[in-house]
């Protein structure tokens, strides 16, 4: 048997707009092919089209389109149904939406077994447990009886993979399978997918992150605007990218090697040294519980003027609670936060209010933090305490500072892209000229290249105003890139603290070691092609 899927000159359009513009690819048995590209590059549509799921209103044309040895252009809906699950399993980014919330995980997997008649009815329950066991779900018997919302993100993703492989398909199509997951969980899921491939299953992996696919893919296709701009063996694409776009993508990945440089240009950053004599913010013995659950426990930290303190940890480690304590949105159960040596958390709200503009927040999802009725101009003007006359001018200044055109002021955030929204959020936080900027996962919802732009913007702002930053992220590469010092949090405690290079190069705590080991490595550090100005 030659290849499982072959398409030549595949074109998909929606209402006349071409989303996929003539791509060719094939996946051979046991091979791992990765499609890498940003949002809107057409990678997901390509993957879905291969399963006959291009969607309503779509028009699919191709020079040749062969799936499982048949001519896919002539397939009936019934043909496609037989292929889905049986020939190819689909794993999507968010298992919580892909799994039926009203059915147990076991029932979900059993359905695939029933539809494709894999094992006799009497054996189905046993087979479900075997599958859950095979994807590394502990206590499969208990888990099979649970609903998706009762499982953690990692377990849900495993359960979804179990249902995708239930009918033992020769191909798995995984669309951003690890994007919503913490690093250690991501590493586990990637290992699981690698195991399936070692067992002979072919893998078509879709991701925006070159680093993620680097460890597992045989061949990489880089997509941009519906076309393939570069393709080749993974090692070649990663170490000697031929196309400018691929180079820019690789260069945009923040890591240890990119420290002190601008991600978008590669130029060195004009960094003012943090003033270690000026302690802006300090936390001593901070603790906070919700009911009997301790979310933050015994946390100490200091932040100096112009310094960036990274906070890393997985979901549920207490990072966001720490941010809320710092912002004075939560009262600590014990300990206190001080600002410029003065009480902050222990100050009565009435006395704290006038000082609040000193500490500003940039959150993960700017849309949530914008009043849905307001325009960009009004949003940015809100924290400014200025007479009406000077306000408009200052709003336009701020927009210009974050690289947005003045016309943005009249628009609604809903009409903006994710990166533009984050710029608006940053402009708004800058308005009151804060001493401290708390950034809670500010780039985790963004594509790599947009992430690079936003990180560069934050760096410029720090260099220009000497703003101190608390930078919270689950992405070690990002923290390594931006932070001077780092707190590693686990279960509400700080397990390790220190200079970021020191901590990540020689982690002392076993948990930090596990985190560092989980980071997917892009080829950037040893790549000879990186030059200042590469790609842009």
């Amino acid at each position: 048997m030659t290849s499982l899927v072959t398409v030549e000159d595949l074109r998909v359009s929606f209402g006349g707009a071409e989303v996929v513009g003539g791509i060719s690819l094939s996946v051979a048995p046991g091979e791992c092919v990765a499609i890498v590209g940003e949002s809107g590059s057409g990678k997901s549509v390509t993957a879905r089209t291969l399963l006959g799921l291009a969607g309503p209103g779509s028009e699919v044309r191709a020079g040749a389109f062969r799936v499982s040895g048949g001519d896919a252009l002539a397939f009936t809906p019934a043909d496609w149904r037989r292929l889905r699950g049986g020939f190819a399993g689909l794993v999507l980014q968010d298992a919580l939406v892909s799994l039926d919330p009203l059915r147990t995980v076991g029932a979900e997997i059993a359905e695939v077994l029933a539809v494709h008649d894999v094992v006799p009815r009497a054996r189905r329950a046993d087979r479900v447990l075997e599958l859950l066991d095979a994807v590394g779900v502990p206590e499969p018997a208990t888990r099979a009886g649970q609903y998706p919302h009762q499982l953690s993100g990692g377990l849900r993703q495993r359960a979804l993979i179990a249902s995708a492989i239930a009918a033992d398909p020769p191909l798995i199509i995984a669309d951003e399978p690890t994007t919503a997951l913490d690093v250690t969980v991501q590493a586990q899921i990637l290992r699981l997918l690698a195991e399936r491939r070692a067992a002979g299953t072919a893998l078509l992996l879709i991701s925006h992150d070159l680093a993620v696919v680097a460890s597992i893919a045989d061949r990489i296709l880089v997509m941009k605007d519906g076309r393939i701009v570069e393709e080749g063996p993974a090692s070649d694409v990663l170490s000697a990218p031929a196309h400018d776009y691929t180079r820019a993508l690789l260069a945009a990945v923040p890591s240890a090697a990119s420290r002190g440089t601008r991600l978008t240009t590669g130029a060195p950053r004009a960094r003012a040294t943090p003033d270690l004599s000026a302690r802006v913010l300090a936390g001593t013995g901070l603790a906070r519980s919700y009911g009997s659950r301790r979310v933050v426990h015994d946390v100490f930290f200091t932040l100096h003027a112009g310094e960036t303190l990274g906070v890393v940890g997985e979901s549920g480690s207490g990072k966001t609670t720490l941010a809320r304590l710092v912002l004075g949105l939560l009262e600590p159960g014990a300990g206190q936060v001080t600002l410029h040596g003065q009480p902050w958390s222990r100050r009565p709200e009435r006395a704290r209010r006038p000082l609040r503009p000193r500490i500003q927040l940039v959150s993960q999802n700017p849309l949530d933090s914008f009043d849905p009725r307001h325009t960009v101009g009004r949003l940015i003007a809100e924290p400014l305490r200025l007479p009406r006359a000077g306000r408009r001018e200052r709003v336009l200044d701020l927009l210009a500072r974050v690289g947005l055109p003045p016309g943005t002021a009249a628009r609604h955030p809903r009409e903006l892209s994710g990166g533009q929204r984050q710029r608006v959020a940053i402009a708004r936080a800058l308005g009151p000229r804060p001493d401290v900027l708390v950034c809670d996962e500010p780039v985790s919802a963004l594509d790599v290249s947009i992430q690079a732009q936003v990180l560069d913007l934050l760096a410029d702002i720090q260099d220009e105003y000497g703003t101190a930053m608390v930078f919270i992220s689950h992405d070690l590469g990002v923290v390594h890139h931006v932070a001077d010092r780092v707190l590693v949090m686990k279960d509400g405690r700080v397990v390790e603290e220190g200079d970021v290079t020191e901590v990540f190069a020689r982690p002392r705590d076993p948990y930090t070691r596990a985190l560092v080991a989980s980071v997917p490595r892009p080829a950037r550090a040893d790549a000879a092609w990186i030059k200042p100005g590469a790609g842009r």
């Binding site: 209010r353 006038p354 000082l355 503009p357 500003q360 927040l361 949530d368 914008f370 009725r373 924290p383």
Partner: protein, 269 residues
């Protein structure tokens, strides 16, 4: 306005006519609704009286047209009162400490266990008849409809990212409530109020029918029905036209309200 255009057009036209009757009844009829002419009593619909005349010889068309002002203003006044108090109480409950919120929420629940008309009747029985009392009674009976929705919305909005962000800007509680919470909880209110207005009109007519509302000889649809029922066997028109007016008004308002509701379902208007 996609889909069934007629479904918007017909109730829309009827409501426009109604608005005209309230604003300028003189344009729709030349007759005086209070001018009695016993010689011309109980005349069937025809040339001189399109809708016939009643037992005192008053023109039914004129009384229906002028009656719109009474019936609709009772409904509108009651709805405005109910919306205002409902929004404020719901907002207060949503922002209050838990014990106060519980107390308010449970009282809304108790009020909504009683059918609106029965509750309104109970209140009028205590306050006594009169237009103002009817408005007050209907408003009280409708308050929970608005208060419960606003309270639930308030819970969502007060925990939202933008309210939290406004706190970090150092804005006061009052400024945040007025600037962010209140405007964002009002989303479902226009739709609810349209449907509520229909209910208020029917409740107002019902109470007037029982003699609790505007007193004779004022033309009010419910009161007209009440007077007409003694002559139902000889003059169907005296009861039919005010009845038709009530029915059409309520049906139109409800249809428009439900259609708006369906359009805005799942998103904020």
């Amino acid at each position: 306005m996609r889909g069934n255009v007629l479904g918007w057009l017909v109730p829309g036209a009827l409501l426009a006519l109604l608005a005209l009757a309230v604003a300028a009844p003189g344009l729709l009829t030349a007759a005086d609704p209070l001018a009695a002419d016993p010689m011309d009593a109980l005349a069937p619909p025809g040339g001189a009286h399109w809708f016939g005349s009643d037992h005192l010889g008053r023109d039914v068309l004129a009384r229906v047209v002028y009656g719109a002002r009474h019936s609709i203003s009772i409904g509108v006044a009651a709805t405005v009162l109910a919306v205002t108090s409902g929004v404020l109480l719901g907002l207060a409950a949503g922002l209050s400490p838990k014990w106060l919120d519980e107390a308010l929420a449970r009282s809304f629940d108790v009020l909504s266990t009683l059918p609106e008309l029965l509750l309104a009747l109970l209140i009028v029985a205590i306050t006594g008849p009169g237009t103002m009392n009817v408005i007050f009674a209907i408003a009280v009976a409708q308050i929970p409809n608005y208060a419960r929705v606003v309270r639930a919305q308030t819970f969502v909005v007060r925990r939202s990212g933008y309210v939290e962000q406004a706190v970090t800007f150092g804005r006061s509680r009052l400024a945040i409530t007025a600037g962010h919470v209140l405007p964002n909880v009002l989303g479902p209110i226009p739709v609810l109020a349209t449907i509520g207005l229909g209910q208020a009109v029917i409740a107002g007519s019902g109470l007037s029918f029982l003699g609790m509302g505007p007193q004779p000889p004022a033309a009010e649809w419910g009161a007209m029905l009440s007077e007409a029922r003694n002559y139902l066997r000889v003059a169907w028109w005296e009861a039919f036209f005010p009845g038709l007016a009530i029915t059409l008004t309520v049906v139109c308002l409800t249809v428009v309200g439900r259609r708006l509701q369906r359009r805005f379902e799942g998103r904020t208007p």
